[in-house]
């Protein structure tokens, strides 16, 4: 090692497995740019085409375009004429109600799991963990019977209540709560605060970062729900927007334009939420998939 500058250069060169970023020649730079552009084209291209085409005069599948032509709002006008605003409203009601319920339930259960010692703790933990093996898909048939027994079929509540308890949220939250120093809680206890006070005004405010994580995950998860609304909705009045797309595949006036406009509206909320809360999303992703 002859000097600090050279050492740093080497460290940078070996900061990634491939070391692509350190190739400095102009040719390498162009190559890199082409590669990145190709990847963006493959993965974001179709969604970008959806964005552009929904504002263009695109009546049949062969005229899907990445370059704006004949800009128009007709597609959205046609979509609104066919109740897309109602579906969007339903979607927001379901995701809003479901997310509030899910966060409240998760935070409360996590508090017991992370901060309390009681007989049966391990059993409850295993029980909650085991629900991860019981996704709606596998339970679809009996779930539809249970939903109708509970009078939840044909109402938005049927799409909200079942997503209230989600093991992922509970476990992420519990993991986070374990890290809060016990002294804070003890201090509050000495000051005479009960469990509910401690939970509400000591533990919860310290959990804001984790609330962001389960919030963004819950949002995308509920927004992506398909089978549950399919089981619950008995009438188009209860359709969520993703569920309604299937019924909007063509229109007399604007052809598939109506589908493009509705699809764009169904895509934007989860994509925008992800972009706004990307840091929290990545945290949840790695904690959920690797550490569990």
């Amino acid at each position: 090692m002859t000097g600090p500058r050279k050492t740093r250069g080497r460290a940078e060169a070996l900061d990634t497995a491939l070391g692509l970023g350190t190739l400095g020649s102009p040719l390498a730079k162009v190559g890199r740019f082409v590669l990145y552009a190709a990847l963006v084209f493959v993965f974001a291209g179709p969604l970008l085409a959806l964005l552009v085409s929904s504002f263009s005069r695109v009546t049949d599948p062969t005229s899907l375009t990445l370059i704006p032509t004949e800009l128009t709002l007709d597609n959205f006008r046609a979509a609104f004429k066919r109740d897309v605003l109602l579906y969007l409203m339903n979607s927001f009601l379901v995701v809003g109600g479901g997310l509030l319920l899910q966060i409240a339930v998760s935070v409360s259960a996590a508090y017991a799991l992370a901060r309390k010692k009681f007989p049966g703790l391990r059993l409850v933990f295993l029980l909650i963990l085991s629900t991860m093996m019981l996704p709606e898909e596998v339970l679809a048939i009996p779930l539809s019977l249970v939903l109708s027994d509970l009078n939840l079929v044909g109402s938005l509540f049927g799409m909200i209540v079942p997503v209230g308890a989600w093991a992922f949220s509970i476990l992420v939250m519990a993991e986070f709560m374990k890290e809060i120093p016990l002294e804070l809680e003890e201090a509050a206890r000495l000051d005479g605060a009960g469990d509910f006070r401690i939970f509400w005004s000591v533990v919860l405010p310290l959990c804001k970062p984790a609330l962001g994580v389960i919030g963004i995950f819950g949002f995308t998860m509920i927004w992506d729900q398909y089978l549950l609304p399919l089981l619950v909705a008995t009438d188009s009045q209860q359709f969520t927007l993703p569920l309604a797309l299937r019924t909007l595949r063509s229109d007399e006036e604007v052809g598939i334009g109506v589908l493009l406009a509705a699809s764009l509206l169904a895509m934007l909320p989860s994509v925008l939420a992800f972009i706004a809360m990307q840091r929290q999303f990545m945290r949840g992703l790695t904690s959920g998939a690797i550490k569990g």
Binding site: L18, L39, P46, K116, P142, A187, D191, L260, M267, A289
Partner: protein, 330 residues
């Protein structure tokens, strides 16, 4: 003794200076009566009160349906007439019915193909897009979008891209490459592959992000050491990077396989099992049997088999995780 600092709210610290023997300060009415009621509860109830909402919801929407699926799978379900015990007959029907066997075959092929494809492409993406510059971050965000867009949207977009006419979007791209045109979702031979393509397109970016997180944990001094030994890029990846990622591979593979087994929405929207049953998977068949043809018992038996496969695979994941954790702590 006051709970100040690091964001603890003022409310918790308010009663601060009071002598310890004094009765606890209870917030003024209307909370008063409620607080006293809570205090009169024995101590062991507290954790259960906090757990109650989650346990009730899980009980209603996870464990009750599971229990009913188990029951129904041994019965001929007859609405209004009462169920009739049929023993293993439903399972027998599932195990011998050609449709079911074909659906199981499609499910396994699809799960393996999507899982393998997503992992390989995800790894390549991760190797190419690893790094901390802003440009890379933007490219990664763009590439990740398919994973966050709702499945229903993804399916509708791909139905359009796969439009089987010669000037459909994918056929246009195929013609640039000197191939095609293909029938895609409409062809019996190409439909399953086309569905798999959508799954990989949406799954690979997810795997990429997990791999990138894993790559961040690779010891950089090992890269230095391998460079000092004169190893090139390929040998560095083969001997340093890939072994370090082994636990990530194992977990991604099993998680994706579990997800693959219960694939429903994309099939339902892209092909609904067609053409001519060439993309029928377990879940779409169960859905049709249970909710369209009313054969609830057989559908339940199919669900139980799916459940069993999921449980087995999950236990494998847990085993791998336990081993990986032990390696980390050692």
């Amino acid at each position: 003794m006051r709970a100040t600092g690091s964001g603890a709210p003022a409310t918790a610290a308010r009663p601060g200076r009071r002598p310890l023997s004094a009765p606890p300060v209870i917030p003024a009415a209307p909370g008063n009566r409620r607080a006293r009621w809570r205090r009169s509860l024995p101590n062991w109830t507290t954790p259960w009160l906090f757990l109650a909402p989650a346990l009730v919801l899980f009980g209603l929407f996870k464990f009750t349906p599971m229990w009913r699926a188990m029951q129904m799978s041994f019965h001929e379900v007859r609405p209004y007439l009462g169920d009739r015990w049929v023993g293993w007959a439903n399972y027998q029907q599932v195990a011998t019915d050609e449709d079911f066997l074909a659906a199981i075959g499609h499910t396994v092929v699809l799960a393996l193909g999507q899982t393998g494809g997503s992992i390989i492409i995800g790894l390549l993406l991760a190797l190419v897009l690893e790094g901390s510059t802003r440009n890379l971050w933007i490219v990664r965000t763009a590439v990740f979008l398919p994973t966050v867009a709702a499945m229903a949207v993804v399916a509708e977009v791909w139905r359009i891209l796969y439009y089987p006419a010669g000037d459909g979007a994918m056929n246009t791209i195929l013609s640039w490459l000197g191939a095609g045109p293909s029938q895609f979702l409409n062809g019996q031979d190409s439909s399953l592959l086309s569905v798999m393509g959508v799954g990989i397109w949406r799954g690979a970016p997810y795997d990429m992000m997990i791999f990138i997180a894993g790559l961040a944990g690779v010891d950089r001094t090992l890269y230095e050491a391998s460079a000092a030994d004169g190893a090139g890029v390929l040998r560095r990846i083969w001997h340093v990077t890939l072994p370090a990622l082994r636990p990530v591979f194992a977990i991604l593979f099993t998680l994706a396989a579990i997800r693959g087994l219960r694939v429903f929405t994309e099939i339902f929207l892209l092909t609904n099992g067609g053409p001519n049953g060439s993309t029928e998977v377990l879940m779409t068949l169960i859905y049709k049997l249970g909710l369209e043809r009313g054969e609830l018992g057989v559908a339940a038996a199919g669900s139980m088999i799916l459940l069993l496969a999921t449980v087995l695979l999950t236990l494998v994941v847990q085993g791998i995780r336990a081993r990986a954790n032990r390696q980390v702590t050692r």
